[in-house]
C-alpha cells in the first residue's frame, strides 16, 4: 500500500479567478479512509479554503454527494482504496449549478419536492384519540422502498434527462411522490397526478435507469417512475370507459 495518494480537486470561487481549475493535493493514505476523510485532511492541515458539505459521515444524512472519478457517490461511504494508485479526481455533483468548489446549488430540488406534495393527504383526518391507522407489514412493503430516499441527489447527477431538461421533476421527487401514493393511509394520488402527469413529470423520463444504479439506498426511482407511467396509462384508459371519471 502507498504512503500517500493524490487527489485532483475541482476548485471554483465565483468572486475569484473566474474559470474552475483542478488543484492537486497529496494526502496520507490509510486503508480505512474514505474520500471524505482525505478531504477533511486537506481542509484541516493544508488548505482551509476548500469548501464542501458533510455531516453524519455514516451514509444517512445525504450531504456529501460528489463526483469521484466520474461517478456520483457519497464520499463518506467511498473508500480511497479502489482508486489506487490515483490520482483521484473529485468534482461536485454534475447537473447542479456550482456555488463554490464542491458545493452545488440544491434549491431546485427543494422546490420540486414541495411541488409533489410529499405528505399524507386525506379527506378527513382522524383524531389521535382514535389511535393509529392500521397498516399491515405487507401494506407497508408497497411503499417502504421509496421511503428510504435520503435526498442525496446522486440520482439527479446521474440522470441524463435532468441535465438536458432542467424542468424535469426528477427521480427522487417522483419516488417520494410514489412513496405517498402507495401508502395505504394516503388519499392524495389525484392531487399529485396534476404535477406528475405534466410533460415535465414522469413522461420526460426515457427510462435510462442510471438513477437506480447510483442510488446508495436502493430506492429504485426508475422503478417508481415506470410503475407510475403504467398506472397513469391504465387510469387514463379506465377514464375513457367509465363515465364521470377523469384521469
Amino acid at each position: 500500500m502507498p504512503d500517500t495518494v493524490k487527489l485532483e480537486v475541482f476548485r471554483y470561487r465565483p468572486e475569484g479567478e473566474g474559470a474552475p481549475v483542478y488543484e492537486t493535493f497529496e494526502v496520507p493514505y490509510r486503508d480505512e479512509w474514505m474520500v471524505l476523510d482525505a478531504l477533511n485532511h486537506i481542509k484541516d492541515h493544508q488548505d482551509g479554503t476548500l469548501s464542501y458539505r458533510w455531516a453524519c459521515r455514516m451514509g444517512v444524512c445525504g450531504s456529501c454527494g460528489m463526483t469521484v472519478n466520474g461517478e456520483p457517490v457519497l464520499t463518506c461511504a467511498t473508500y480511497l482504496e479502489p482508486f489506487l494508485p490515483g490520482p483521484i479526481r473529485v468534482e461536485p455533483l454534475h447537473g447542479f449549478p456550482v456555488i463554490r468548489d464542491l458545493v452545488g446549488d440544491l434549491e431546485d430540488f427543494v422546490e420540486k419536492l414541495q411541488r409533489v406534495k410529499p405528505w399524507i393527504i386525506r379527506e378527513e383526518e382522524k383524531p389521535t384519540s382514535e389511535g393509529e391507522y392500521l397498516q399491515t407489514p405487507e401494506e407497508m412493503d408497497a411503499y417502504k422502498r421509496y421511503s428510504m430516499c435520503i435526498n442525496c441527489m446522486l440520482c439527479y447527477a446521474a440522470c441524463p434527462i435532468y441535465e438536458l431538461e432542467p424542468g424535469f421533476i426528477g427521480p427522487a421527487a417522483i419516488a417520494l411522490a410514489q412513496r405517498y401514493n402507495l401508502d395505504s393511509r394516503d388519499e392524495g394520488a389525484r392531487e399529485r397526478h396534476e404535477v406528475l402527469a405534466e410533460h415535465e413529470g414522469v413522461w420526460s423520463c426515457t427510462f435510462v435507469g442510471e438513477c437506480s444504479i447510483v442510488c446508495p439506498k436502493d430506492v429504485d426511482p426508475a422503478g417508481a417512475i415506470q410503475r407510475y407511467k403504467v398506472d397513469a396509462t391504465l387510469d387514463f384508459f379506465r377514464s375513457l370507459v367509465t363515465p364521470g371519471r377523469s384521469p
Binding site: D44, R53, G59, C61, R100, T128
Partner: protein, 581 residues
Amino acid sequence: METVHHDVLVIGGGGAGLRAAIAVAEADPRLTVGVASKVYPMRSHTVSAEGGAAAAIRPEDSLDEHAYDTISGGDWLCDQDAVEVFVQEAPEEMLRLEHWGCPWSRNPDGRIATRPFGGMKLERTWYAADKTGFHLLHTLYQTSLRFPSISFHDEWFVVDLLVDEGRCHGAVAIELASGKIVALIARSVVLCTGGGGRVYPFTTNANIKTGDGMAFAYRAGVPLKDMEFVQYHPTGLPFTGILITEATRGEGGWLVNKGGYRYLQDYDLGTPEPGPVKRSMELGPRDRLSQAFVGEEEKGRTVTTQWGEVVHLDIRHLGEKLIDERLPFVRELCRKYQKIDPVRELIPVRPVVHYMMGGVHTDLDGATPVAGLFAAGEVACVSINGANRLGSNSLTELLVFGARAGKRAVQEAEDAPDRPPDAALTQALDLERQIHGNLLRPAEKGERVATIRDEMQASLEAHAGIYREEEGLTTARDKLRELRDRMAGVTLDDTSLTFNTELLHYLEVRNLLDVAEAVVHSALNREESRGSHQRRDFPERDDDRFLAHSLVRRSSEGEPEVELLPVTITRWEPAERVYGK
C-alpha cells in the same frame, strides 16, 4: 444591514425544530415562522438516530412504569414533574407522527410494534426498523412543507442571539451561499440546535453537532443545566465512532469480552440468560454498560485492535432473517464501515460520546429565563434525562417538548413588542463588523482553527470522559483557558464571502469552547458520582449535597459560575438503582 422579520424564529431544522414550527403553524396559521438551519433540514442529526422512540401504549404498560424507568435510569436527577408531562404526552405525539405518515414497524395485525430497550422494564420502544430517526425527520420535514406559514432559511448559520434587557428579539445569521449577514427579527425564538458531542474527538455525533444553541444561550446569560452529564453509548464502531444501536441488544445481542464471556454479569447487572431480559445485562442502562467496559479494559479482558481496545457485540444467533428485517442498517453500517458481516462475525465496539443530558435551562414549556427565548430537544435540559438518558427517550422528547415550546412561543409572540429596540439592531451591526471586518480580513498567518479544536477534544477525552477526578478536570479547565486565549491568534485561510466553511467552523469552535468550559466547570463542582458523571475521587452518590441540578452561568467577568438548584421530586423518593433483579 438586511433584516428579515418573522413572528416566530426557530433556530435548527432537526426533529425538535420542525416539530416546534409545525406546532406554531397549527396553533395560529396567521403567524409567520422562519426556520433557520445551518444545513438543509433533512441533514440534521436526528437523521442518525436508529433504535426507536419510547411511549407507553401496550395494555400491560403504564405511564407510571415509563416514568419510573426514566427517573431511576436518570439516577434521580430528573425533574419528576417534567417526566410526568413527558410520559403522558408521549403516546399522542407518537400517534400524530403515525398520522403524518411515519412508517413505524407494525405487527402482523397492522398495529404499531414495540421492542425492548435498555433500562426499560417493558417493551415500549416504537421503531421504524433501525432507521427511526431518519424516518421521523423526513416525515416531519415533508409534513412541514404543507404549511404556507413556515419558511425555510436553509444553510443560514446563526452567529448569536439578539438579547436586550432580558428579552430575545431574534438572531444574527450568515447566509452561507452569499456570506451576507442578516438580522432575523422575531417576537419569539425557539432554539433547537441539538447537542455538542463534537467537544469530544470520538463521538457518534455528526460534524454539525457543535453546541451552537447552548453557546448562544450561555453568552446571552442563560444558565446551562447539568452539563457534566455526557452520555457514552456503549456500542460504537471503533475507528469511525458510528453508532450500533441498542436495538441490537433489545433484539437479543450479547456483549462479550476477549474470552467470549458475557462480562456484564460481573458488574451488578444480573445473570446471563439466552434471550433478552429487560433491565438486566445487555439491557442495563448506557452509563453502567460504558463503565463496565472501562472495568474490563482495566482487567485486561478487552480485545486489542489497531483502533484501540474493544469488546465484541455478538448478534449472530439472531439469524439473518431477523437482522435483515429489524436491523438492516446495522448490517449495512458494519459491512460498509467495518468491513464485517454481523450475520457471521462479531462486531467490535467501544463506548463513544453520544448525547448531552445537560443543556439550556428551561421550564416545562421550554421557556428560558430570557423572555421570548425557548429551547427544545437535545439543546435543552427540561430535565427528563437526569444523570443518564434512557435509550429511545430522546426522539420522544424532541416531539413532546418541541411541540410544547412551539405552542408557548405562539403565546409569547402575541404579547411581544412590535419592534425590537435599537440596542438589538446595534448588536447585529457589531456582529457584522466583527465578522466582515475582523475575521475575513487577510492577516498574517496565525494558528489554524483545527489545531484549537483538536487540542480541546483531546483534553476533554482525557479528563472529562467516563471517569473523572479533580486533577484532570483542573488540567482541562486550564487548557480551555489557554485555548480561549489562543483563539484570538487564529487566522483563516479563507477570506471569501461565498460558502465560507472555514469561517463557519471558526464560529463553531468558538461555540464548542463555551460548551466545553460549561462541561468541565460543572464536573469539577459536582463532588459525587451519579449516572454518567463518575468521579474517582468521590465514588458515591451524595444526595445530601447533590440531589440538585448544576446551573452554570457566565459571570460579568467572563468566568463560569456554578450553583445548585434542587431537583423536583413528586412521587418517587430517591432510591438505589437496581438492575438485573
